[in-house]
């Protein structure tokens, strides 16, 4: 079963051009990676001409010990999940002929979806733990990586079926990924269609301390601050789990407030509007007043849209705070204390001065978390951080900030 798939991408890549700008969020160092067996063995680029621009500093830098807050294991096929279903759901999958659930968020042939160094011929590095280690964790020497499985459980209309698939996905991640590489941690996929079932799944998975986060999507059926979601946040806070909000949609509603766009380009760009709404909702509904220990990480949001939105939020709060008197300090401060953002992608030109000016507008440097977004193609070669980040901030982003954002990483 292939819900919501639009006939995007046999021709889509051609339509967008060979190297559409959508994946060139930042970095853009112009590097060309040379791939051998799924591993980057060398890279030629203008980085090689050291000193040509500030990109060299970070691109040449090591990522040893970094904590990657966003990698994507991919469920290879329905067989992988059937192994983790009970007799009823296994038979349901067989009898109904369910082939799996895929959203259009990352169409197979879209250039954003898979880095060239995550492919060896037609073999992908993201559906096998060993191949991902070889393509990413080993060469980069990351200390930890958080697996966010984007299997489209959120799209399923039947909440019981969704719950069965969420359980299967989490158990698949646990056994096929976490058990096989001690560097891996994971997010809990929940059947958001039914809050009680979602909480059950959080509680079930939380016993395993390698689950460090509850994974939600930027575009759903209701803004995430609404009190109907609070039982999930209560459970997360109790277990020391962070809330992760990843780009993506249940595709139960249009991805923009004005209806369905025509092109993938618009769909992906619209994700950041979803994040705007979620930050506004989490703040205004008082989620962080109610759950003061909770942190929410915006994953794959693009980062740089945030400060202008906070200026707007802060300004209007002054005039209409009577609606939300529980917000008794500027929204900027609440966001500073409770919201984090993964740095891949980082929407800015590849110019160190521009990046520094943008970073100055963020409420705090503690908010940025390192992520590769593997195997999505957000950067070329090894340029996993934007230009203009000095050594001290680099260390915060790679190591200290992720540790602070995810209490369970210390367990």
């Amino acid at each position: 079963m292939d819900i919501g798939r639009r006939s995007f991408l046999s021709g889509g890549a051609t339509r967008l051009g060979k190297r559409p700008r959508i994946m060139k969020h930042c970095t853009g160092s112009g590097r060309t990676a040379i791939i051998e067996g799924g591993r980057v063995v060398s890279a030629s680029s203008r980085d090689a001409t050291a000193g040509e621009n500030a990109t060299s500093d970070h691109a040449a830098g090591s990522f040893k010990g970094a904590i990657d807050c966003d990698v994507h294991p991919r469920v290879p096929d329905i067989l992988a999940l059937k192994r983790y279903m009970n007799d009823h759901w296994r038979e349901t999958v067989e009898v109904r002929g369910i082939e799996g659930f895929e959203s259009i968020a990352y169409p197979n042939n879209a250039p954003l979806t898979t880095r060239p160094d995550a492919m060896t011929g037609k073999v992908r590095a993201d559906d096998d733990v060993g191949r991902m280690a070889k393509a990413l964790l080993d060469p980069q020497q990351f200390s930890l990586a958080i697996c966010n499985c984007l299997y489209a459980v959120q799209m399923i209309r039947d909440e019981h079926l969704a719950s069965a698939f969420a359980r299967a996905v989490n158990d698949w991640v646990r056994h096929e990924w976490l058990d096989r590489d001690p560097r891996l941690r994971a997010s809990i996929v929940v059947p958001i269609q039914n809050i009680e079932l979602a909480v059950d799944e959080v509680n079930r998975c939380a016993e395993d301390k390698r689950f460090v986060q509850v994974l939600l999507l930027a575009l759903g059926e209701q803004p995430l601050g609404k009190s109907m979601f609070w039982p999930i946040y209560r459970a997360a806070e109790k277990h020391g789990l962070t809330i992760g909000i990843h780009a993506g949609s249940s595709y139960h509603h249009a991805v923009t407030g004005s209806g369905w766009p025509s092109y993938y380009l618009e769909d992906y760009a619209a994700q950041s509007l979803g994040f705007h709404a979620q930050v506004g909702s989490l703040v205004a509904e008082g989620v962080f007043v109610k759950f003061p220990k909770l942190k929410a990480v915006l994953i794959e949001s693009g980062v740089t849209w945030l400060p202008p939105y906070l200026w707007r939020l802060a300004k209007f709060w002054r005039g209409v705070r009577l609606e939300v008197p529980w917000i008794d300090r500027p929204p900027m401060e609440i966001v500073r204390d409770h919201i984090r953002l993964t740095i891949q992608p980082f929407d800015a030109p590849d110019n160190a001065d521009t990046v520094r000016r943008v970073l100055d507008q963020l409420p705090s440097e503690e908010m940025l978390l390192f992520a590769s977004d593997f195997p999505h193609w957000q950067y070329d070669g090894n340029a996993m951080l934007p230009s203009g980040i000095d050594a001290a901030l680099r260390r915060k982003i790679l190591i200290d900030n992720p540790k602070a954002a995810y209490p369970r990483l210390a367990l």
């Binding site: 007043v289 709060w317 008197p325």
Partner: protein, 137 residues
């Protein structure tokens, strides 16, 4: 510093406010339960005239969905963007340290005393039997 007689006390009833001019400045005078307070009338945000604003109580909260209403009549909201100011102090609610109205000293003086001077009462006659609002600028 000069003391200016700006209004008869009886002109501003309890809960009322009056805009007065003192040496070209706009000052709004409030009567809170018989006590008078004078603030600059110009909102420090964009210059709205506070004397045209809504007077309300203070809304606070202990958590989402909880509303605690107090200090009825002691908050003035700018008519333009609804930013709140404490009538007693002139300080804004949202940024009380940096964003505030000039607060002037106010006194209520009997007319008999005012007639003796040396007060500035440019715009109206002072009657011995009345009480007057005197602002020091």
């Amino acid at each position: 510093m000069a003391r200016h007689v700006v209004a008869r006390a009886a002109d501003i009833p309890v809960g009322g406010r009056k805009l007065v001019k003192i040496d070209g400045r706009s000052v709004v005078v409030f009567n809170l339960k018989g006590d008078f307070y004078a603030l600059s009338d110009t909102c420090p945000h964009k210059g709205g005239s506070l004397s045209n604003g809504i007077i309300s109580g203070l809304i606070e909260s202990d958590g989402p969905g909880e509303y605690r209403h107090s200090r009825q009549g002691e908050i003035i909201r700018c008519p333009w963007h609804q930013w709140e100011f404490d009538i007693k102090t002139g300080r804004s609610w949202c940024d009380p340290r940096r964003l505030r109205l000039v607060k002037y000293d106010v006194a209520v003086e009997p007319g008999a005393k005012l007639v003796e001077g040396p007060y500035v009462a440019e715009t109206f006659k002072v009657a011995i039997e009345d009480e007057y609002i005197v602002i020091e600028v």
